[in-house]
């Protein structure tokens, strides 16, 4: 049995108290689905955990004007099951239902997933394709500026995510080709069509979520799978590992993106 080294643990009940503790050096704990595992392996070794699980302001889903707002501590199952999400952005509810397995979805949160920015995680693709805004306790960050490659984000020391604001697209879809052992995305593509633009985001490529601008241009002219069938993906920008070469990943991007467009067409 792996043991967890000793640490201090706080469970504040207001956002203000949490921010104070985290600015003083505490590490936010959300669902713990990544952080506790990392601590078991000593990949992370915070001396104080600040559990965000008892702060009501950080949980919940609501429609606000033409945006969908999801609190940072909302778990994947709540998003998957929410009628508000299913009506506003059904592709987002479907994405949440594809994360890991149902036990992971009971605990894992949107804030934890976004802050972690795993290069094969699902939510980052949705945030980038939908042009979401990440609200922290002190500022708002556009998804385009937030994700900065492998496990790195625009978050500063002591900064916590409070909610994600999603513009509601005309139509959207997410298709994921899972890596069957980890359940993360080998490639996942989120396509969103707005009145004036189309955005395409790819996760699983290896060095972090990215927008596929060539596909966006083609789909803006003609929103159909055929329009992107011959749009190339830069093979060199993708990585190779035991699950697939970069050429294989590039091929998957094309196939999965076409399926996502077909899915969005309904």
């Amino acid at each position: 049995m792996s043991t967890l080294y000793a640490f201090d643990y706080e469970r504040p009940t207001t956002q203000a108290d949490a921010v104070r503790l985290i600015q003083a050096g505490g590490r936010p704990l959300a669902g713990g689905q990544t952080l506790i595992a990392s601590m078991k392996l000593h990949l992370a070794s915070p001396s104080q955990l600040v559990d965000l699980g008892a702060i009501p302001e950080l949980v919940g889903i609501r429609k606000q004007g033409d945006e969908l707002v999801i609190g940072a501590m909302t778990c994947h199952r709540d998003v998957a099951e929410s009628t508000v999400v299913r009506e506003a952005i059904p592709a987002l509810a479907a994405l949440a239902d594809l994360i890991g397995d149902k036990q992971i979805r009971s605990m894992g949160t949107i804030g934890g997933s976004v802050a972690n920015n795993d290069p094969a995680a699902d939510y980052p693709a949705a945030l980038l394709a939908l042009g979401a805004t990440i609200h922290t306790a002190s500022r708002k960050i556009a998804a385009d500026d937030f994700f900065q490659g492998l496990f790195s984000t625009a978050l500063e020391e002591g900064e916590i995510i409070t909610a994600i604001h999603f513009p509601i697209p005309q139509r959207a879809a997410y298709v994921k080709f899972p890596q069957p052992a980890s359940l993360f995305a080998l490639i996942g593509v989120f396509v969103a069509q707005f009145r004036k633009s189309v955005r395409v985001a790819v996760t699983g490529g290896g060095s972090g979520v990215f927008r596929h601008t060539a596909m966006e241009a083609a789909l803006s002219r003609d929103f159909s799978p055929a329009a992107i069938a011959n749009v190339a993906t830069d093979v060199e920008s993708l990585s190779s590992d035991l699950h697939g070469s970069n050429a294989y990943r590039a091929h998957l991007v094309s196939v999965i993106a076409q399926r996502a467009v077909a899915g969005a067409q309904g």
């Binding site: 643990y9 506790i36 149902k102 036990q103």
Partner: protein, 155 residues
């Protein structure tokens, strides 16, 4: 730290170090050893319990995260007179286990599955059991057990 938690309907208050995993608290502190520790890395699902109505892997959280929660472990499923829960009975009837190591987690996961998806198809059952690994059965009889319990529980 002071922990207040409800386990199998019984209020428990305990003084435990914050680095206690929920699985360790259940097994080593409460001596409820039906919850198994397999991988200890969130992969196998043997440690699955139900917390506030949803299955989760008890090796993946620290006890503080469960402050005030209601937990059900495999020991909490049978009736007071020892009568098996329909899911337990179905696993027995369908030979849904061989060595039995994965079984407590499999059963807790399956109870959550039918609670939230009472009309799950065979394909959906397979998908929803993705978080539980069995090295013995090949899964066929596990899926049959869930389908059998599904019929009994909806009857």
């Amino acid at each position: 730290m002071k922990l207040e938690i409800t386990v199998n309907g019984r209020a428990v208050s305990a003084d435990v170090p914050p680095n206690t995993l929920l699985s360790a608290f259940i097994r080593d502190h409460l001596r409820l050893t039906g919850t198994h520790r397999g991988c200890d890395t969130s992969q196998c699902g043997a440690c699955t319990v139900i917390a506030n109505g949803r299955s989760m892997k008890s090796c993946s959280v620290v006890v503080g995260q469960m402050q005030g929660a209601a937990i059900t472990t495999i020991e909490g499923l049978a009736g007071k007179d020892g009568e098996l829960h329909p899911m337990q009975a179905a696993f027995k009837e369908c030979h849904g286990l061989q060595c039995g190591f994965c079984t407590p987690g499999m059963i807790m996961s399956s109870v959550d599955l039918l609670t939230h998806h009472p009309h799950a198809t065979k394909a959906e059952i397979c998908e929803l059991l993705e978080g539980n690994i069995c090295r013995c059965t090949g899964y066929e009889n596990i899926v049959k057990a869930v389908q059998t319990a599904q019929k009994k529980m909806s009857a």
